[in-house]
């Protein structure tokens, strides 16, 4: 009886998986490359559910590195390299051109053929054929955009990666908080967990298959690790006091976390296989927000042992903590860039909390955002952008800004707060 009710409700909830994030882009990178993504041809009797060229063009434009041409301004609409008249594109000032076609594939699926062309030389820079199901077509389009981006910028694209975030909506006299995962373009949101109590600090496993998070659903803060494909989850930390700030080690086998079970918030490392717990810091001040270096040799964390929150570094094997930040009176929530050479963090200047990049070699800070209440920065896996939470118009929204400061995307969701973003690693 109870089981039947649960499954009925599950069906109702699983039905309308709607509400995407809306993305607005401001600014652009100096010298953005002009590119035309020609609407793709479609094979006979096919009606693919996604406009592949539109998704590719939107991805490229959102990065700020490309200026895309509206389809209505195009002089011709070739679908293959053979149909291209280079002069049509040279006269419009394009550097590059993407043409392609969606055709029928194996067992009711689709096949996307595309070519990237250099408009000056006529060279075919990239030519690929990608299989896609109806449901996987948007993802396939993102993979094509990734390939185009990498070919033209020399850096891997992140359009096919995902973002975890927390939404909060009023419900009754309280709120419902929900941890979601959506594509980097805000589409295909998936609910990971939902509760009337707070949820925070989602953290990806290095293989992108699991997410650790803090949930208050069972009185107080506890840490869960959830498998995304199966939905199965495990309670991994529910010690007395706080259980917070989960961070997967780069090998995925351990979780750094903050516990106050021994009287004061300190950093611990939990072995996820053996469940053995090792204490990493032991100080009467607050130590929290651990983050692993990409090589796993050390961690940074926030401590107010110097009187104000600042960033410290400690060897993963334990030892003495070294203070890294001396600029500004509040620095917190640091995380490493994928190359390990800088940190994204929250810093306070003139009473405003902003996102900054801290160069670990030169020990200088570069502010990336305006504040006043910016938090939770997370690097894109190619290191070109940082996504963070901010308050805009009295509401929580996400913003993603390029490290060169040229372009900012604002990701919002109607009638709810959005916060605590975590950019996924590359996923297959």
């Amino acid at each position: 009886m109870y089981r039947a009710v649960v499954f009925l409700l599950a069906w109702v909830l699983a039905g309308p998986v709607g509400a995407e994030l809306t993305i607005e882009v401001t600014g652009g990178v100096e010298g953005a490359q002009p590119i035309a993504v020609v609407p793709f041809g479609v094979g006979k009797n096919l009606s693919p559910p996604v406009d592949v060229a539109a998704v590719i063009a939107a991805d490229l434009a959102r990065s700020g590195r490309f200026r895309t041409m509206p389809a209505r301004e195009m002089l011709s609409t070739p679908h293959s390299a053979e149909q291209v008249d280079l002069r049509d594109w040279q006269v419009l000032g394009m550097n590059n051109l993407v043409v392609g076609k969606v055709v029928g594939g194996a067992i009711g699926g689709y096949q996307i053929n595309f070519t990237l062309i250099d408009v000056f030389s006529g060279d075919q820079l990239l030519g690929m054929s990608m299989p896609a199901s109806a449901a996987g077509m948007r993802y396939a389009a993102h993979r094509i955009a990734d390939a185009v981006y990498e070919e033209l910028t020399g850096q891997p694209g992140v359009f096919s990666t995902r973002i975890a975030y927390v939404t909060a909506q009023p419900e009754g006299d309280g709120q419902r908080t929900t941890l979601r995962v959506a594509g980097a373009d805000g589409y295909n949101p998936q609910t990971i967990v939902s509760s009337r109590e707070p949820i925070l600090s989602p953290a990806w496993s290095p293989d992108g298959r699991r997410i650790a998070y803090v949930s208050f659903e069972n009185r107080g803060s506890n840490i869960y690790v959830q498998d995304l494909a199966s939905g199965r989850r495990e309670l991994v930390a529910s010690y007395p006091g706080i259980n917070g700030s989960p961070a997967f080690s780069p090998d995925g086998g351990r979780l750094a976390l903050t516990l106050s079970k021994d009287g004061n918030p300190d950093i611990y490392v939990l072995d996820l296989r053996t469940r053995s717990l090792r204490r990493l810091t032991d100080h009467y001040a607050i130590d929290t927000e651990p983050a692993w270096s990409p090589d796993g040799s050390e961690l940074v964390f926030t401590s107010d042992r110097g009187g104000q929150p600042q960033i410290y570094r400690i060897p993963a094997a334990g030892g003495a903590a070294e203070r890294l930040t001396f600029q500004n009176d509040y620095n917190g929530r640091a995380s490493y860039a994928p190359d390990g050479r800088s940190l994204a963090l929250v810093t306070r200047t003139n009473g405003r909390f902003r996102i900054a990049q801290f160069d670990l070699e030169r020990k200088v800070m570069r502010v990336l955002s305006d504040g006043p209440l910016d938090e939770s920065p997370s690097f894109a896996p190619n290191g070109t952008m940082v996504i963070y939470g901010r308050v805009h118009g009295g509401r929580g929204v996400l913003a993603a800004t390029s490290i060169d400061g040229g372009v900012t995307q604002r990701l919002s969701r109607e009638a709810s707060d959005v916060r605590e973003p975590a950019w996924s690693p590359y996923v297959e």
Partner: protein, 176 residues
């Protein structure tokens, strides 16, 4: 990417956690208006008035010295301001005289700064109150701490008028 079974399981997980949350027992919030109705002077016979008063827990009775159950903190600090010491001593006295009473000390912060740092700061605030009460003679077994960090503001808003109300510790009574 789209496996209906996975989606169903995920939804199931949310349902289960939803059920878990909804069954979470929280002690009722004080209702000063209701309490006041039960205590209308002269509106009732003496006998009935006493009976109704007996149903109101002392921490819910606006006339009781332990009705005030919130103390406030300075920004990024967890030291107890001297002005709150008398109130905490009143609670310590009550708890010492009622060994069956238990409280959860909830630590809260304002929204400034990072969420996890604030979770730790809320823990420190709750721990500071706990240490104060123990020093005043309360048995440790009567006290539990719980930090919500910045997640449960008492006042919405993004200015000091709201922030000052949110940097707080609340004493949440349970039991007889």
């Amino acid at each position: 990417m789209h496996r209906p079974t996975a989606a169903g399981l995920l939804a199931l997980v949310s349902i289960l956690s939803l059920a878990a949350c909804d069954t979470l027992v929280r002690s009722p919030e004080p209702r000063p208006a209701d309490s006041a109705v039960g205590r209308q002077p002269g509106a009732e016979t003496a006998g009935r008035g006493q009976a109704e008063a007996a149903e109101i827990a002392p921490w819910e009775d606006p006339a009781s010295p332990i009705y005030r159950r919130t103390i406030y903190f300075r920004y990024d600090r967890n030291d107890i301001l001297p002005e709150y010491a008398p109130l905490l001593r009143t609670h310590a006295d009550y708890l010492a005289r009622h060994p069956g009473a238990r409280i959860t000390i909830e630590g809260h912060t304002d929204e400034r700064g990072t969420r996890e740092y604030n979770l730790a700061l809320g823990d420190r605030r709750a721990a500071a109150v706990q240490a104060f009460l123990i020093a005043e003679g309360v048995a440790a077994g009567q006290l539990e701490t719980l930090s919500y960090g910045e997640e449960k503001p008492a006042s919405a808003g993004h200015r000091e008028s709201a922030w000052s109300l949110n940097r707080r510790a609340e004493l949440d009574y349970e039991g007889p």
